[in-house]
Symmetry: C2
DNA sequence: TTTTCTATTGAGACTAGATATCAAAACATG
DNA sequence: CATGTTTTGATATCTAGTCTCAATAGAAAA
């Protein structure tokens, strides 16, 4: 979970980038900071009836662009947000419960960067997602459920 | 591009899985087989005014589930489909033009499978996407565009 | 502190991509 | 041909989000 210092970190980042730190933005940041694992944009919207829908989406986008949040895609295609560590990383996502963990795998990064020579163009970036059934979800599964 | 034999392959796959090979499904398969690189579901829908919208989506989903198509996510989140090789692979996607290439990287697979020991649960699968600016798009780019 | 100017906001319309409903049509089989 | 199951298409609905635009808030200047 995000700490108080992370909340002020959001203010700082926004300020440094020349964005105003406003009431609505602060509300979104505060709610976001209470979330563990992944959450949908709508859950933020529902939690802040006094903040406009557009503003919620705008702020989530802003926070994603500044690297505070990151947006991931579940296997079924539905988008989720999560608090983002400071470094480049990827995600391990539990399909049943949506819990996510970050992982870093320098070997993987090197491997993907090395593809530069095999690829006919310029590499812009990459995305890696690993889908699992987490330990908490395993016991509850009917045999054969997968 | 898909060949004639691929078209009959679709029929076979559907039949083997117990689905009927119907007119609408055949139309979708035929149009899909003419597409190079990625395409949107809507482009299939627009190309087949005689086939219902729902049927188009249903069929694309079916073809994805049977492994004939695969659905990828562009960096901006918009979904695309592409003809899929027979084996497990990932995608190199040109962000400017949407052209995609499949790639296989056994080392990568092994690496991701090896994570099983580091992960507290059961690995279900993974997704890797590499975003590039392809050689064709590079020259057209204004310097600094990136 | 009042003015000024720009950034931000919220209401609401709109879009893309897709799923749900359900009666009608198409099929396979007896 | 009768029967029961699949599939279909029209339409409504949904999710996730963007766009527009007038009203507002905030920062900086006067």
């Amino acid at each position: 979970m995000m700490t108080l210092t992370d909340e002020t970190r959001i203010d700082n980042v926004l300020e440094e980038l020349g964005y105003r730190v406003t009431g609505p933005r602060r509300k979104v940041a505060r709610l976001v900071s209470t979330k563990e694992g992944t959450f949908s944009a709508e859950s933020i919207n529902d939690g802040l009836p006094t903040v406009g829908r557009a503003t919620v989406y705008r702020t989530l986008k802003l926070l994603s662009e500044t690297g505070i949040l990151c947006k991931i895609t579940l296997p079924d295609g539905s988008p989720r947000y999560s608090l983002d560590g400071a470094w480049h990383h990827h995600h391990v996502i539990c399909s049943p419960c949506g819990k996510i963990e970050e992982f870093r795998k320098p070997v993987l990064e090197r491997l993907l960067r090395e593809m530069a020579s095999e690829v006919d163009g310029k590499i812009l970036g990459h995305r890696v997602e690993v889908y699992i059934t987490c330990a908490d979800c395993l016991p509850g599964m009917a045999p054969g459920d997968n």
